[in-house]
Symmetry: C2
Subunit: 333 residues, 2 copies
Amino acid sequence: MRGDLFNLEEERLGEEIKKRGAKRVLLQLPDGLKPLAARLASIVERAGASVIISGEPCYGACDVALAEAKELNADLIIHYGHTMMLRDLDIPTIYFEAHAEIPVEEAVRKAIDLLKPWRRIGLATTVQHVKKLEAARRILSSAGKEVHVGNASSILHPGQVLGCDYTNARAISQNVEAFLFVGGGRFHPLGLALTTMKPVVAADPFEGRAYSLDADARRILRQRWAEIEEARKAETYGVIIGLKPGQKRLREAFRVKNKIEEAGKKAYLISLREITDQMLRNFREFEAYINTACPRISIDEAAAFRQPVLTLKEAYVMLGEISWEKLLEKGII
Amino acid sequence: MRGDLFNLEEERLGEEIKKRGAKRVLLQLPDGLKPLAARLASIVERAGASVIISGEPCYGACDVALAEAKELNADLIIHYGHTMMLRDLDIPTIYFEAHAEIPVEEAVRKAIDLLKPWRRIGLATTVQHVKKLEAARRILSSAGKEVHVGNASSILHPGQVLGCDYTNARAISQNVEAFLFVGGGRFHPLGLALTTMKPVVAADPFEGRAYSLDADARRILRQRWAEIEEARKAETYGVIIGLKPGQKRLREAFRVKNKIEEAGKKAYLISLREITDQMLRNFREFEAYINTACPRISIDEAAAFRQPVLTLKEAYVMLGEISWEKLLEKGII
């Protein structure tokens, strides 16, 4: 991922450091932008602050390095690549969205073919491409499509989706027959398909190509149902609490633990920062897990886990509090 | 690792919870004891507290889950498997050393043969076997050895060593020709060999066997020197700051960064909780790393890293502040 593909707002970075008189900055980047860390750190230093680059993984705006900043006595967090999601943080945090500078037209034109069966199209994208959504809309309109862009979230740009927040897409889902997602990687368009249960085509401007997510989404739905059935057989559950600021749902964890115990089974709470099979493998007593942290870990990493790792919503299907059909209707993410 | 191999002090666990009126306990175990997590968690619950099992890795007493306990609003940490190392922690922490119940005699008897060339023997062990050291001493004495046990540390039991603290062994090193280490795994006896530069024989009571560490130690010393030479060629360094409470050496990190810059090269600070090649691979600009956290990560995981990851002491050899020979004399850990 090259630096010139993204607008890193290097000037604003220096200005913010000076304006705030920051003394020690924690610089946080998603892994894809970490190759640019030293370049950005140098800007912070030249603006008069010392800087520590967070080497920890960073998967989203849920994942602000608050505890880390406190441990390092940083007085400012610079968070790249995501939209502000958490407010009133203990440590001042400035977000740099890192918009992509790459044109989207070629990929969107290639998507037109795949969108042939449908006329009413919903548009969605990540923060990196929100400024290019208008260009995508024009191409779709020229091709005779009726284009819808959701604007139902107080924190997201119009049309923007997160891996765990498809509010903007849901808001228009009933008005469209299919979605066009503009952006790189399968992660976001897959979530869009699983949430809206509509056909999704992705236009990837980095690779200049378009593809359908339908087969992936169908496969994952089959898997999720199988995981729920498998988890049903367990006698002892681990209920995972995520330690990342926007993933910590303590009350929900205690609640689902109680529900499992009411059903006559055993449940134990486990706290984890990075939820991986390697971490879970240390335990021997748990036959299935309920993950109250990021639901995408359960869904996207299922193949890597040796035991079922249900999302909170799936746990309530297992416990009979909601039907699978109803969950599909509401969206599994 | 079976529960009945270790004294988990289950009664004291329940009593401590009740006595302190703990409301929410964070239970922290090294990976080897995690299979017993649910059993211990149940004791905490029966004593009237809610309990969260830390799923995070825990490699030593340097690694108390303070930040985690704060994030989870726990009012007590129960830390298994290590001796108290950090004092005056923000959150009350009770240590359970988890002494091994297994006899050491068979393994020590097998070690006698390997110790034949030497008469004056230093004894060392981990906290798990400190109570069995007397039994080991008797066997050595009966075999005609002069036995020395170091007692120079204010925090460790006589003869006890940590992966990063061989104070007790160093204190007697000049009086002995070789060391006998009693305990499982190569990690501690290898550190003993690298620190004292004396022949080390390990008696492993879990496997009932004895073996020499000399070839391993020699191989590692050759590797370390090669890493220093390789790191010397770099122009841009990453200086790693460990986020674990007993591994965070901010001042030393800033200091070595300045020294590198004084030498006309570039250096950037990086904070990490778990220092793995996967984490470092996200960066592209750093040709070598200086690790100010646990030195054992540099030494024991060297094969896993694609770039040289020097310890702080090795960095000062690279920078010419101390000679390699002098470092070997003082001990590389």
